[in-house]
Symmetry: C3
Subunit: 470 residues, 3 copies
């Protein structure tokens, strides 16, 4: 189906018209992408290719294959690489056919929305994807991917991206970012410092990660003090490479400072492989305090993503590894959990702390009141499962009255799927304009305010929050 | 008031029109009733009578009398039978008058909606029920109930029911189901295996229930192994009698396997009347694992209803017993609670596990992600207090984007109140069509998809989930 | 901008028209204000002045200054008095300018809505408040405040207030209420008995509060029995002074009776300054039981506000004290917490218990089922952060189907900000009429019922719940 110009707006003609007016002024603004998981290699390698349509759209995208898996299609049949050596489907046309046969599963889902828009706007596919149309659609995308205008640099320009931030391990050498810088290309691709793999001592492979951190920082991490030193060293390096932010994932929002001695003791136990679950929880809580302290000192914006219970499906994890659509949210608590951190740094004008939740009950109850009080805090956009039309509507509904729009952080696409970026921002811009139009037609804000709010949602809040301004 | 043809649809004329189009195609589909509490006796006894209007609509319906109780009308005045021998009102016309005098309490409630529709569509009562109209309405219903077309079999046909599943204790002899089978009647009434009263060792009267289970299974339950044997025996019997599903209620979704020895020890303590609350919780968690194992083996669909804190009002419970509108929900947790069960059986293609919650915060946070990942899991419709227009709207809003429609289980009416069944399904069909129309008018799905989704919601999902297909 | 007559109603023309019809009949009803924090002194002192616009609208209103604080404006710059002797801004025009420069922060917030309506309807300010218009607006308000028609008594009449209840500490002498009575003024200003400061033994300054209670009650509180006696004494005094209600704030809804001996022991420890956090929690739980018992006996309506974690920002608390916009909600639990109290008194026809929550997840899950069952319970209106257009919509959505309208308590403004009272009631009346109009246009209720419901929401439920009837 051809995309409707007024899609996703309220059915009421008046609200739809106002939403359209607001949207028309922001639809063409450059994209600010302050948080995401696009592979920087694609911008460093001028010959980078996305591979087949299946390699681009299915195999790496757990949003896509989890839905087929949930209906009984094994990941093996979708070509997802197994770690245990088992053979998986290699015929990309066959995988594509399976995907198209099941595309009805995505009715009414954000993944469905993104894919339809991506197929039409990026690849010019206007026919509906079904089992019958699958081969023709595959051919069309495959043909497009051969052309130079479908290389990452060309798409960057076509997508009108102003800045795109990647997410990079603390021990990452940032070689691709170096290559991008060296290439003289005019795109703005920035790293983000993500130290989870060395900070959360219960991460699988933690010991090896510490060794790698020692190596890249040239600091021999023999204990807690050198660990801190190495992290500060890497932050400085990331900052020099253009980073303006860090990112932290934690199961809970628990924070709390340990004494230097306690931290040292736990770290020693971890080095010996003797740390327990309680050690890990306390150390993460402590390191969040340390990360906030460092952000106060070096000015890197601190992002905190809370509440994903990782790798819930053990068998799947053993065979296919992390990030396979088997992370399930848990309840989160911020009021008591963040109290130590906010008491120490929440009123410090040097800190910006962007909070993300998977537990929407915290929007109105905890996060909006916190963001509406502490100067350092901004509330990030709806994350992951909630990055959807309804998820955004609930966010606007439950957050904005208490936090105020200006204590929120605009949008980020948080995606690995580069060609889906315009569709994701477009959904946000439409949802935001529809929300603001609802305020305008109800007489809550006037049209001058409405236009300003639409601009802030679409562009300025993200840019300001992440200190990406000029 | 005469029922409006377009009732419950969005006020926007365009969405309402599309909803009406969708509804028109599904309104006449047969009713699939895969879970409910209708008394099978009414189909076994050809002379079954509903009694007076008061006996049919008030005395047995805790949805109705809890509301009057909440406003100070004692259950005694409503004829609800007391267990402690106290006298209750016997004048059914007087009770009806009290009910009608308070009917304004149901304004805007699902019970009000069902009653109005039931009165008009089943009994032809078009005048509004008030204190003034009460006697005339009573007479009209009483007269109707005299007629043969208001016997259960006739209503089954008139209601266009395709299949109706009852809920039956594990130790039930299924005598009425046997009689229905023997009668040669063409209706499809199936039992459902509900072992709560023997599986939850803290149930009042548990020891007597075990004795009854021994008796009907002809297996002397002297310990845990024979207990399991007896359950397997009964499941086979239920299946032979037409059951396609089991049903389990638990305060929490906690699951976890005990060793054979531990299970045996707890069961022994229970037989001696020495088991404590912790024993009961661990045993239930274990038995849910066992029930899933048996479902994998025998193919009975497993239903799990979580989160009702039973008999909150102690005095009321002592006088009137269970199910008197005094069950209050509590917070629920599924992500960690179901992990053992899902790791063991969640990817087994032989299992279907239908989950129900009274804690709507789990829709978007836990249940939709779980249903959108595990092949075995389907999410049941809004349950009990949430079986309402707004409850359904919240369900569609919070579940569908993440779980996808096809990981949900359609509708079930879950009711004891047989004559209310058509009204309940009609509310669901209207709510579903309105939701889908909202997607269509916003350009999220096209009309072909919309019609398919409406059909699936109204009919096919329930039939497929419960393996009631032809 | 000039306020639109149909503001806040649904954009759909039909629903808006019906909402307008409903609203037209209730807009002019007198205001029932059964719970709030207006200073009774303003009615006792015939020469009471609100001071400057800044003193009236900014300095005392934590809804206002928390938002500027969250964006980096220190409370010192807003003239909020510091307890630690530090100097704060004294130039009220300068503070006003800062406020106006940041007024865009209130876009789409309830505070923004109230202020705009208050400025226009109370002070005749129709121009938009901006940095540019700030001085002129200040002048206009300042000029108005000079006039006799802007004295509290005159505004009481103009606002069409029928009754206004204040909130007063148990040890308060009620001198202003005495003076109001003595003055012969025809306004109805009633005290409310709030014993938190003596009942919650972990309150800062608790020991001094007990001494004050001893003094005003003329009962020397040397232990728990005299403490109870003193409370009963004060309740009788408040009742004699016109009180119809009490109010209780607690971090949790935990209730539970202690033995007389246990209560005595904890109280003794508290008198010696040796009570711990666990003591405080158990004592509060016990005292809620006692307060319910006393309410059963003396007929004072019992209000319970649950879930505010007070003084989250420690530095701010040290400098500026309580109630500075730094209270953050936490999750709440009512089903198990209130079980002891409801089992003891929940079916007693003499008790009315009005429950308030900051955790909206409890609306549909716990509070609506509890209010829809227990005769004593009514659910209070959306509180604090949820006293907003969306907060009200969520309340109507999540509460009404299960609780029924007639188990709710109407509206209260809960405000310190006297001139904002009409705007707050108007938002509620509009939101309620819009909700009811939504039911009417969907065919859920007829127009007769709709008008009755609008009247009940706007006026009668609050009056009846708080026993303020004639």
């Amino acid at each position: 189906m051809a995309l409707r110009a007024d899609r996703f707006f309220d059915p009421d003609p008046h609200q739809r018209e106002v939403a359209m007016q607001l949207y028309d002024r922001v639809a063409g603004l450059p994209l600010i992408c302050p948080h995401g998981h696009v592979d920087p290699r694609m911008f460093a390698d001028p010959d980078y290719s996305f591979g087949t349509p299946t390699e681009m759209l299915i195999i790496p995208d757990h949003y896509v294959f989890r839905m087929l898996y949930s209906q009984g299609v094994p990941l093996e049949a979708l070509g997802v690489p197994a770690q245990d050596g088992i053979e998986v489907e290699q015929d990309h046309r066959k995988i594509w056919q399976t995907f198209a046969d099941h595309f009805y599963l995505f009715r009414g889902t954000p993944t469905g929305i993104w894919l339809v828009q991506e197929l039409e706007e990026v690849f010019g596919v206007e026919e509906k994807l079904t089992g019958a149309s699958a081969p023709a659609v595959y051919d069309r995308i495959a043909a497009a991917l051969e052309k130079p205008e479908f290389r990452p640099h060309a798409l960057y320009k076509r997508f009108n991206i102003e800045v795109l931030c990647t997410t990079d391990a603390a021990a990452d050498s940032l070689e691709y970012h170096k290559a991008i810088k060296a290439s003289g290309w005019e795109g703005q691709v920035r790293p983000t410092f993500r130290p989870d793999a060395v900070v959360n001592i219960d991460t699988e492979g933690w010991r090896a990660n510490i060794d790698k951190l020692s190596e890249v920082s040239d600091i021999s991490i023999d204990g807690y003090p050198r660990f801190i030193e190495a992290l500060e060293n890497r932050r400085a390096f990331f900052k020099a490479m253009g980073a303006t932010a860090t990112d932290h994932a934690a199961l809970t929002a628990h924070t709390g400072r340990l004494s230097e001695a306690e931290a040292g003791t736990i770290f020693r136990r971890a080095l010996k492989g003797e740390a327990g679950a309680e050690d890990a929880a306390r150390f993460t809580a402590h390191m969040l305090m340390e990360m906030a302290r460092m952000s106060v000192e070096d000015g890197l914006v601190m992002q905190l993503h809370v509440g994903a219970y990782r790798n819930h499906n053990e068998q799947l994890f053993k065979r296919f590894g992390r990030d396979k659509g088997a992370d399930i949210p848990v309840t989160s608590e911020f009021t008591r959990g963040l109290e130590p951190l906010l008491n120490a740094y929440g009123a410090d004008p040097r800190l910006t702390l962007v909070l993300f939740t998977l537990d929407e009950t915290t929007y109105a109850r905890e996060l909006a009141p916190i963001a509406g009080h502490y100067p350092a805090v901004r509330l990030g956009p709806p994350w992951w499962f909630h990055d959807s039309l309804n998820g955004m509507a609930r966010y606007f509904d439950q957050v904005m009255e208490t936090a105020g729009l200006y204590n929120t952080a605009g949008f980020n696409d948080d995606t690995r799927a580069y060609p889906s970026i315009p569709a994701r921002h477009d959904v946000w811009r439409r949802a935001a304009c529809n929300w603001i139009a609802g305020l305008a037609v109800r007489g809550v804000v006037d049209m001058d305010d409405a236009h300003a709010m639409a601009y802030d949602c679409a562009y300025k809040l993200a840019k300001d929050t992440y200190r990406l301004g000029d």
